[in-house]
């Protein structure tokens, strides 16, 4: 009587086992890369209701971040400026510009402008701008070089791993206080020396890496 299964089927279980292990590893890897904030969130560039250009205001005109984002040194949120802040200048400068139509309407009707959020940490994460700014972490460390962005996009992944990288080794991101809002600052050669001095000056220990530091 002829064999029902050919001879190669003896090794079929082995092949199936190897194949399934490979499939699991490959799918896991693909998901890990393509579904990560690094791939999904970086480069998120929503269209804003008003074509406000950070490149013009910060890059070309040299305005400081804190001129508009006034809460950044005192509050957990940096704050999107109220319409009044825009109109303080723009009722004199380019007062008739078509791009500012929505801002003028907002001022007249007392209706707020609905900006689209670009940088978002999940609701279960506590993030405090003032805690970072007051110890000398620069804006650009998390937001990238805003002064070159015509439309703001997310430059860093803002993932948990990314946060922890800096929390474990913050030295490269500490700056002198007058360079906090500088978009083009790069660490000097003696950065390690400066970081040690800065940490001693502010009496800061290593930033928290406990779960409860952020997941309160």
């Amino acid at each position: 009587m002829a064999q029902i299964f050919p001879k190669w089927t003896n090794k079929a279980p082995l092949y199936v086992a190897i194949a399934s292990v490979l499939i699991i590893i490959i799918t896991g890897g693909l998901i890990n890369y393509y579904a990560s904030p690094l791939n999904i969130d970086v480069g998120y560039r929503p269209i804003q209701p008003v074509p406000y250009s950070h490149k013009v205001h910060v890059g070309d005109l040299g305005m400081d971040c804190r001129f508009c984002h006034t809460g950044v040194e005192y509050s957990p949120v940096a704050m999107i400026p109220p319409t009044k802040t825009c109109m303080n200048c723009h009722n004199m400068i380019k007062a008739d510009s078509e791009n500012l139509k929505l801002i003028r309407e907002s001022q007249q009707n007392k209706t707020p402008v609905q900006w689209v959020r670009v940088h978002k940490s999940p609701d279960y994460v506590y993030f405090d701008h003032s805690a970072h700014i007051t110890v000398g972490v620069g804006c650009a460390s998390c937001h990238g070089n805003i002064s070159e962005m015509e439309v703001v996009f997310q430059a860093k992944p803002l993932s948990m791993g990314w946060c922890l990288n800096c929390h474990r080794n913050p030295d490269d991101h500490l700056r002198p206080f007058d360079k906090i809002t500088n978009m083009t600052w790069t660490p000097p050669a003696n950065q390690a020396e400066f970081a040690a001095k800065q940490k001693a000056l502010l009496d800061i220990k290593a930033p928290t890496t406990d779960c409860t530091g952020c997941h309160r």
Partner: protein, 435 residues
């Protein structure tokens, strides 16, 4: 009791609610609504399959849509109020009037929305602590039943229309001195409101000003009125009291000024060194309370018998040699308990404290004042004060008002706070008077 639901089945009858047991129309209606119209279609095999396949498809699509990040808006101020920093809470120190009491509060507010109430650490009544009423007051701020605008016969109106309507009425009332005019408020101790009330009654001398709370210190004020001749309220100094007897008074949770009393009472329970001693608490009550749970010795007595107990205690104090004008009573309470209590109170003359609960009638409070006086506690552990601005709840005035309303003598009634339809004694027929 007949139970038609399970009448066909013998044995025990089970029911899920009182409505179910009574088979009210509301319950039958609810049973019908449990399977609303259209839901029966699901039991049909063909549409059920269609339904599931549609659900499956939408589930699959839902999985895809979640890959896209939801658009979230940031809505800043148009003109930012100068004192607000978004993200930073603000704290406001304020007062919460509560009956004739006032609590000092600290209210946390986020971008103009109050979120949490706590005691004000700098205020003498609360010193940073709070009670259940203060915590619950938060919800009152967002009560959907609060009217946000002037209503006229249930329709939205405005202040101008109200003023016009009232000015016309006021003309008539000025002429007849406020005949048929009545104001119903809750009790208060606000100097401003008292001044306005006086001004109102000066202008309309024949108008009625009625004050009523369903739960208040009315009986305490009345009892002290009988004992002292003035509308006084007692202030207890638990920090000086070594022996405390509470006659149905839940001073640790429910009574007026409970925050201060809890703190002072607990202060005398704390033993920090070998020289410190603890106070002793006797509680006589008819229900379970926090204060009763804290008692060293608790005697279970019907609420209606507490007055009798106070009289029996006065008699026992007299029998043990205290100069007190005690009424003669024949009551059978635990004689051993009563003897020990009287001996303890006499041994701590001037450092003991007897207090009666607001549930007890005025006579009990008059007797309590008498006992305290005989024990030389007045001026030491208990003192009496008169607040000229206090407008105390008065049930008789509500009864008079309701009778007048039912006779048709009241043509205009202003209710400032309170909910008399819900709170007023049911046999008063207050609701009928409104109609």
């Amino acid at each position: 009791m007949s139970n038609t639901i399970n009448s066909a089945v013998g044995g025990k009858k089970y029911w899920r609610s009182l409505d179910h047991l009574a088979e009210t129309p509301e319950f039958k209606d609810l049973v019908q609504k449990e399977f609303p119209q259209g839901a029966s279609e699901l039991t049909d095999p063909v549409s059920r399959r269609k339904f599931l396949s549609l659900m499956g498809a939408s589930m699959a699509l839902a999985g895809l849509t979640s890959c896209r990040r939801p658009v979230e808006k940031i809505i800043p101020y148009v003109v930012k109020p100068e004192e607000i920093i978004p993200g930073k809470p603000q704290y406001y120190a304020t007062n919460m009037p509560f009956g004739t009491e006032s609590f000092g509060l600290l209210v946390e507010s986020h971008e103009g929305r109050p979120t949490k109430i706590e005691g004000n650490p700098s205020h003498p009544t609360t010193k940073g602590s709070s009670n259940v009423f203060m915590q619950a007051e938060m919800l009152n701020l967002y009560d959907p039943d609060r009217s946000k605008q002037i209503l006229e016969n249930g329709m939205v109106s405005n202040w101008d229309k109200y003023r016009a309507a009232w000015n016309q009425e006021a003309q008539n009332y000025s002429e007849n001195g406020g005949e048929g005019l009545a104001v119903l408020t809750e009790s208060f101790a606000s100097p401003t409101l008292k001044r306005l009330a006086n001004a109102f009654l000066e202008k309309y001398p024949r108008a009625r000003w009625v004050t009523y709370d369903s739960i208040s210190d009315e009986n305490i004020y009345k009892g002290l009125m009988a004992a002292t001749g003035v509308m006084a309220r007692p202030n207890y100094e638990f920090s000086k009291a070594s022996v405390v007897l509470s006659l149905d008074a839940d001073f640790l949770q429910m009574d007026s000024n409970d925050i201060q009393y809890s703190r002072e009472f607990a202060g005398r329970r704390r033993v920090r060194s070998e020289k410190d001693s603890m106070n002793r608490l006797y509680v006589v009550e008819g229900t379970f309370s926090i204060t009763g749970g804290m008692a060293d010795h608790r005697l279970r007595v019907q609420s209606g018998q507490v007055g009798m107990f106070a009289a029996a205690l006065a008699a026992e104090l007299k029998a043990q040699g205290l100069a007190i004008n005690a009424p003669q009573v024949s009551a059978s309470f635990d004689a051993k308990w009563l003897k020990a209590l009287a001996a303890d109170l006499i041994a701590n003359k001037g450092q003991s404290l007897v207090l009666g609960g607001r549930r007890q009638p005025a006579e009990v409070h008059a007797l309590v004042a008498l006992i305290n006086d005989a024990l030389l506690n007045t001026g030491k552990t208990v003192s009496y004060s008169v607040n000229p601005d206090a407008q105390v709840s008065n049930l008789e005035s509500l009864v008079e008002l309701t009778n007048a309303m039912n006779k048709g003598e009241i043509s205009a009634l202003f209710m400032l706070g309170g909910n008399p339809i819900y709170q007023a004694p049911a046999d008063l027929a207050f609701t009928d008077g409104l109609a």
